[in-house]
Symmetry: C2
């Protein structure tokens, strides 16, 4: 079947999310995907190659989730709030962010590429929307939008870390609420 390959990738996406790279064995991938031993190494040269394909897909998925939120019709600062409050699987962690501490990604460029690509995209997009907010007069021109974009991204990533650490989704919500409060505080209200 031509889509055995797809099933391998799909299974790997799930397992990488749940367990990370180190803890995901070819055996587990075969079981989850229903594929056989031979198929694995026919379609991919190694576990790392399969993981790279899976991570690439995961990053693409995440971009697709982000895109409509940051490009809606809402005022720019509202889109930032929408980003912060979009639904997340707090306890599963970020599919991309959770990979950053795996030893492998320091050695294997192809595995780090999707991570860099996603984070670059997200930071860039957030910064763009923040710049729009400045043009709309909702945000002071003194704010460095690149820095703030990084802060927002970090808050979300750190929110996952806290939620995982405490095994409690509320911990991420708390961090997000704090960020929302800060956004509220610096918003420049229009005269009425």
């Amino acid at each position: 079947m031509a889509n055995t390959r797809e099933q391998l990738v799909a299974a790997t996406k799930e397992l990488l999310w749940e367990r990370g790279y180190e803890a995901t064995s070819p055996r587990a991938i075969l079981e989850k995907s229903g594929a056989g031993q031979g198929s694995f190494y026919h379609h991919f040269s190694s576990k790392a190659a399969l993981a790279a394909a899976a991570l690439q897909e995961a990053a693409d998925d995440m971009r697709c989730n982000l895109e409509p939120i940051l490009h809606s019709n809402a005022p720019a600062l509202q889109r930032i709030r929408d980003y912060l409050t979009m639904p997340r699987e707090e306890l599963r962690g970020c599919r991309i962010g959770r990979m950053t501490h795996e030893p492998i990604i320091r050695q294997d460029e192809t595995l780090r590429d999707p991570i860099v690509a996603y984070f670059s995209y997200a930071e860039q997009e957030l910064a763009t929307v923040l710049a729009e907010a400045q043009r709309e007069g909702a945000l002071s021109e003194n704010i460095n939008v690149d820095d703030l974009a990084a802060t927002l991204l970090a808050t979300v990533q750190g929110g996952y870390v806290l939620a995982r650490g405490f095994q409690d989704p509320e911990r991420m919500h708390q961090a997000i609420r704090g960020a929302l409060t800060l956004i509220d505080s610096i918003e420049q209200k229009k005269e009425v």
Copy 2:
């Protein structure tokens, strides 16, 4: 030697920081510590037990680093800034935070305990200092200090994630700068 145990723990602390739990093998611990096979299982019943001891020490170390910064003579909000800008090994990641995505911590309470303890301590301390800032008149009473404490902690944890993802320490600094800007923006200056 009585301190073979200590050397096992010290080596494990390093390896956990560098590679995490899954990727740290007993073999590597033995090599790094210079201890022998027998010593390992004499002093500890399992890899998990040794890791728990090592994590506990790491968490204690981190508390010791935090304590003087958050209890200095500086004004409360300055102590918050000092926390944000304290030196960090950006590319190594957080010894505690990096563990949160390891599958094992969902099952093993003894491994999650030091994580929960450290994060609880940090959030609590940050919230206390923020409340002091409110009493000093530097911070609006409208701010929920628990939420903001979580946000700051998350920013640092997320900063590590970004720095690791990009393999670039500057990414954490960027996130921190954004947070500092937000703190500046909400600070209530005293009349002169």
